[in-house]
Amino acid sequence: MSAPCLLDACTISNFLRRDARQRFPELVGRIENIIREHGACVSVVTSYELRRGLRCLELRGEGQKRLARTSLFLQEVTAFGLDANGGKGWDVAVEIYAQAQARTPAVTISEGDLLTVATAIAHSRVLCTTDEKLATLLQGIGLGEYVDFLPLE
């Protein structure tokens, strides 16, 4: 049984690729197992990223039927916030940011990734990502136990 986790936006995007089953069969299998065991869970930041992406597609004239198919799935995804337990997610984000900045040389994490991993840690979950750079970066600042890198190949 895998540890409870949050899926980040690039993982969801890769999972939803039209050819994902052919190109990334192991990834699809892993994520389906995660959904079976723990449901489909993301950070509010990821939810925000996906929702604004869909809205952009809508404004570009993407068909409503296509959007509904994706929204149907996203409607069932559980989003975890930063505000629970007195804003614990924000406190974790503060600490990660400060610790990363205190390194020599300082390590910079994008705000989206920072808040996403902070959400996972605040909810005692692991962040599942297909972004190797992010996984390496988080391992480099001592957060290896909170990240699960899912290789595409």
């Binding site: 939803l16 992406g53 952009c56 509904a68 994008s110 705000e111 989206g112």
Partner: protein, 252 residues
Amino acid sequence: MFASLSKKRIEAVPILLADLERLVARLPAKQRAALIWSPEAVRKALLQLHREPLSRMAVAEVGLEVFRSFHRCWPLLMEFLRAPEVLRAELSAAWQEKVLLLRSAVVDPAVADAAEWAFRSLSAFFDFFLSVAANEVMEGLPAFDERELERTLTEDGPGCIFRTQVLLMAILEGAAGKMDSGRAEELAVMAFMEASSALNALAREGIRLDPFRGETSEQRTRRILRYSEFARGSLSDEALEVLASARVHGLR
């Protein structure tokens, strides 16, 4: 709009035109004659959605006619709400029939799921509404304010749930007839979008409704995995690029 109420448990199902007609038909002739409503006017309004360009405004206009008629039937609905045991079994069966009819109106299985999702959301909403407002509902006929209804039908928030009801009624009204399945799918997709907006708006108020309340975790997993397959087939590489470019990098 809703039915089946008991002291122990409240269950609600969206009431459709055929349900109202069936209820009216059971009234004694004198009561029936006193009821001023026109199912044909409602049907005619709903049929507009089968052929005219679809927009929120068009749905709102049809909704005005639908809810005006429903309001006239309010005393009748209250009567049946007071004696729910008479209708409980029938409505329960009707609920399943409606879901099946709704699904049969569209060809695409993803859109059928979206339509069912919308229908269950509407049902969950009425269930919730009755659980918190049952006493007020039973107390009597709320004043009918056409301008207020018109405003509600065109706005976000509560307006979404009313439009969901109208859109689902339009599909069901056409499902047994000759409605084009393409139009049925358009109506179903719009109903899903409206229903998901309504549930998201309620969630922001701290009210989380589960359209699939009572399903087992296995059923839920199967459903989510089925939805993920639908989503997987729907986005082009270009669309996925747009999603990727919507990632949050900095907050400045």
